[in-house]
């Protein structure tokens, strides 16, 4: 760990910022030792995350080999443009997360916090696209249409045309709930089970990551400033977690959307 020394500044109220006064836990000899320990622990935890998702990837590999047609059909209902957009959104968020850590290390509090907010917005955008553009239409047949082009037309609409209904589109649900009438392969519902389990588990991780980043953002607020050149453990750990969430998506995206 390299720390860059800056003149200790004072924040409002004449107090030293949190990162200046941070005291490491008493069972560590130094602050660096604590940082290293946290980092080792976090990397081990990331290994467990990879192994958790390994189950999903094994599920995919085996049944893709057994039922290639079901997987091909199922995959053809996914629009690579939404998946691609979400990939771009997550990659941008990973960049801003990394930048945020960098800004904290150089004590640029405002820029660091701005990057955290962009990361959070990207995370929220990812979940919103997932829900509105992918889950809800496939499950229910209700499409989200911000242009409201179907308002007043033949299609059934809701919220003044913000959502329109497409007959025979919905019902692509996991397992026993699967009711899509035009499935051509008897094993297509397993594809949808895999799709929702894999992406749902990933989305849950996105939400956990957002909670961690929100926590960092809260403790870095003006007047507290817990993170800075001399102490940025929490930011670094949240960042590592966010990157693994991104990385898992990088594997899920081609497997689910691109391979036909």
């Amino acid at each position: 760990m390299s720390t860059i020394d800056f003149k200790p500044g004072l924040i409002q109220g004449g107090r030293a910022p949190g990162y200046e006064t941070y005291k490491h836990a008493s069972h560590f000899r130094t602050k660096d030792e604590e940082f290293d320990a946290c980092k080792t622990g976090m990397w081990l935890f990331l290994a467990t995350e990879v192994l958790l998702f390994a189950g999903i990837f094994v599920w995919y590999s085996i049944y893709r080999m057994m039922y290639p047609d079901a997987f091909r059909n199922g995959s053809s209902y996914l629009d690579w443009r939404w998946g691609g957009l979400n990939t771009v959104v997550l990659l941008i968020s990973s960049y801003t997360m990394a930048m945020s850590i960098n800004h904290f290390q150089h004590n640029r509090q405002k820029e660091a916090r701005r990057n955290l907010v962009i990361t959070l917005v990207c995370g929220a955008l990812f979940v919103a696209i997932k829900l509105l553009m992918e889950y809800i239409p496939k499950m229910t047949g209700w499409h989200f249409d911000p242009t409201m082009s179907h308002a007043g037309g033949e299609a059934l609409t809701k919220f003044g045309g913000l959502f329109y209904f497409e007959q025979g589109y919905g019902g692509k649900l996991p397992g026993i709930l699967f009711s899509y009438p035009f499935a051509t392969d008897p094993h297509e519902n397993m594809w949808w089970s895999l799709y929702y389990t894999g992406t749902g588990l990933h989305a849950a991780h996105v939400l956990i990551g957002m909670a961690l980043i929100a926590r960092v953002w809260w403790f870095s607020r003006p007047g507290v400033e817990n993170y800075g050149p001399k102490h940025y453990t929490g930011v670094e750990m949240a960042g590592l977690y966010w990157h693994i969430v991104d990385l898992i998506w990088i594997f899920l995206f081609p497997l689910l959307y691109l391979i036909h």
């Binding site: 069972h27 560590f28 094994v58 588990l201």
Partner: protein
């Protein structure tokens, strides 16, 4: 308790003046005030010693529950047909339509016995209970790397076991502890019992992961100054190897159980042949975790034996590095052999490969056993309860290990699979290995944990009873198994009855043995005060007071000798007269550390 420790005794009426002083230099369990203050203090403690003690109490309670279930199973098997279990325990289990039948209750009994003993007793027994207490002490650290995470692990374990308990309250499950599909996806379809039990195991998995993670980081970062990797006690090596398995294998069971729950709720099809899935895939997933976890169960037990034998034989351990690397070797091989649980359901090629890999496990295991025996050779053996347990371990574990070979060989396994031979084999390893080592370790470190000496006579008596009871219970099962008695059956042909009766009598002797230990431990809490280093040991935990103070050591220890340098160093807290074995104490004074 504090009055028994003169240095921390308080003058009535002046307690407040010395409050700080007592907090830091009294025994770790010292009273902090009123009863409820103490309860709150224990519930929120981040002290690894208190968390270890809390794990220990929970493990012992679950050991009792699992033991009662085992005795119910054995009692049921006294007679070939009539089901005692149905009559006796039918009241206990909520009997809705169809459950009242004895056979089904029998299925629940052995399932719960297995699930409780594996997930709630053996897995957390040594690593979480003894490991938590001892790991930082042995490393010369103040605490584990992440003390709050440690407390969280304990609460996760607690809540996980509550889910399992809820499942038992609603009537339990009859899937076998392995939750094999399709049993686990089809039995009791209108009930949530299986989901609750699986959820319990899923949650407890997180506790296991976080404990392992915590220990790995602690070993890497918090060793005392002067302690290199090869200056660590072998118990630490064993715990370290165990932790690697916990971290790398447990997530796999996490996703497996999650998929199992989804399969039950949504019928996602992954394990259901009716929907195109494959139930054998569940077995692969399950054993990819559960076989390595067999070594989570046995490796810490081996670690305990590696401590007990040199300390009570007063001799340097033979082959330190060989034992340390054997632990890591077992860890590595453990991930490659899961297929041997599925010889009868896999292809010939796969079975052959897994069989060959399985024999690899024998190498590091045998390395350890031979090194322990060579440590005993020409040692100055103190025959006390921990040493007796170490010898019992060597005997029983060798039988358990060697009977694994016919099960690892394909031709004999096809004859023995799912028979009582398998039951006897894994009880010789899990109980004759892990539980025996655990009880031996409990005696070995009891003075350190409680500050009191147990009664040696009753300790030895209990150990002998356990040894006799264990062999009577389980050796008979080898014989039955070879003759064809299948496992998991409530009824059997009359020819096996004599063996079943003998086995059941053995289990009652086992119960008496454990009760002797229990009363001995309880009685010891008012017994003789333990010195800091009653065994003349050299590893760091004996340099702390008995019981240790809150921060373990008054000063950070600096390590200047190895944990097994007997004959070279006079142990701390011991004089040369106490310790005539030290050949050359010159230069190495009794106060080397500090």
């Amino acid at each position: 308790m504090s009055t028994l420790h003169p240095t921390s005794g308080s003058i009535p009426g002046h307690a407040d003046d010395h409050h700080d002083h007592h907090d830091h230099h009294g025994p770790y369990y010292q009273s902090k005030g009123s009863f409820w203050t103490n309860v709150w203090d224990w519930c929120t403690t981040v002290d690894h010693k208190k968390i270890g003690v809390m794990y220990l109490i929970a493990v012992l309670i679950f050991f009792f529950i699992g033991g009662v279930l085992a005795l119910a199973v054995r009692t049921e098997l006294l007679e070939p047909v009539r089901t005692v279990a149905g009559q006796v325990t039918g009241q206990f289990f909520k009997s809705d339509e169809g459950i009242g039948k004895g056979n089904e209750i029998y299925n629940r009994l052995f399932t719960l016995h297995g699930a409780v003993m594996v997930f709630m007793v053996i897995i957390p027994s040594v690593p979480a209970a003894l490991g938590n207490f001892l790991l930082p002490l042995m490393l010369g650290a103040k605490d584990v790397a992440f003390p709050r995470l440690n407390l969280l692990s304990w609460y996760i374990y607690f809540f996980g076991s509550m889910f399992a308990g809820l499942s038992i309250y609603f009537g339990g499950v009859d899937t076998g502890w392995t939750f094999y599909t399709p049993y686990s996806t089809t039995t009791d379809p209108d009930q949530s019992r299986v989901i609750l039990m699986v959820l319990g195991a899923f949650i407890m998995g997180f506790s296991s992961i976080l404990t392992g993670l915590n220990f790995i980081v602690t070993v890497h970062k918090l060793r005392a100054p002067g302690m290199g990797w090869f200056d660590m006690p072998l118990f630490i090596w064993a715990i370290y190897a165990t932790s690697i398995i916990q971290v790398l294998a447990t997530p796999v069971i996490g996703i497996t159980l999650l998929l199992l729950i989804l399969e039950r709720v949504f019928h996602i099809g992954i394990f259901d042949p009716g929907l195109g899935g494959d139930p054998v895939l569940f077995q692969h997933f399950f054993w990819f975790y559960s076989h390595p976890v067999v070594y989570v169960m046995i490796l810490p037990g081996m670690g305990i034996i590696s401590e007990i034998i040199p300390v009570h034989a007063h001799k340097k351990i033979f082959g330190y590095r060989a034992i340390a690397f054997a632990s890591l070797g077992i860890t590595a091989v453990s991930f490659l052999v899961w297929g041997h649980h599925m010889f009868s359901s896999s292809t010939e090629l796969a079975a052959t490969i897994f069989s060959a890999l399985t024999f690899l496990v024998a190498i590091p295991t045998a390395v350890k056993v031979f090194n322990w025996i060579l440590t005993l050779y020409k040692g100055s053996i103190a025959m006390n309860t921990p040493m007796l347990y170490a010898l019992i371990f060597l005997f029983l574990f060798s039988i358990g290990g060697l009977t694994g070979l016919p099960l690892g060989a394909l031709s004999t396994d096809l004859h023995l699979t799912d028979s009582y031979f398998v039951v006897a084999h894994f009880h010789y390893v899990m109980m004759g290995g892990t539980i025996i080592a655990f009880v031996g370790g409990l005696h070995h470190w009891w003075p350190k944990m409680t500050g009191r000496m147990y009664n040696e006579f009753w300790g030895m008596t209990g150990a002998i009873l356990v040894f006799i009871g264990f062999n009577v219970t389980f050796f008979t099962q080898f014989i039955m198994g070879v003759q064809g008695m299948p496992r998991r059956y409530a009824t059997y042909v009359d020819t096996f009855q004599i063996w079943h009766v003998v086995s059941t009598i053995g289990s009652y002797i086992l119960l008496v043995g454990f009760l002797v230990h229990l009363f001995n431990f309880i009685a010891s809490l008012r017994g003789r005060v333990a010195p800091a280093n009653p065994w003349g040991a050299l590893s760091l935990e004996w340099y702390a007071a008995s019981p240790p103070i809150e921060h373990n050591f008054e000063h950070e220890p600096i390590v200047k000798h190895g944990p097994y340098d007997y004959g070279e160093v006079v142990p701390f807290h011991c004089s040369e007269e106490d310790y005539p074995l030290a050949d050359k104490p010159a230069g190495a004074s009794a106060h080397t550390v500090h």
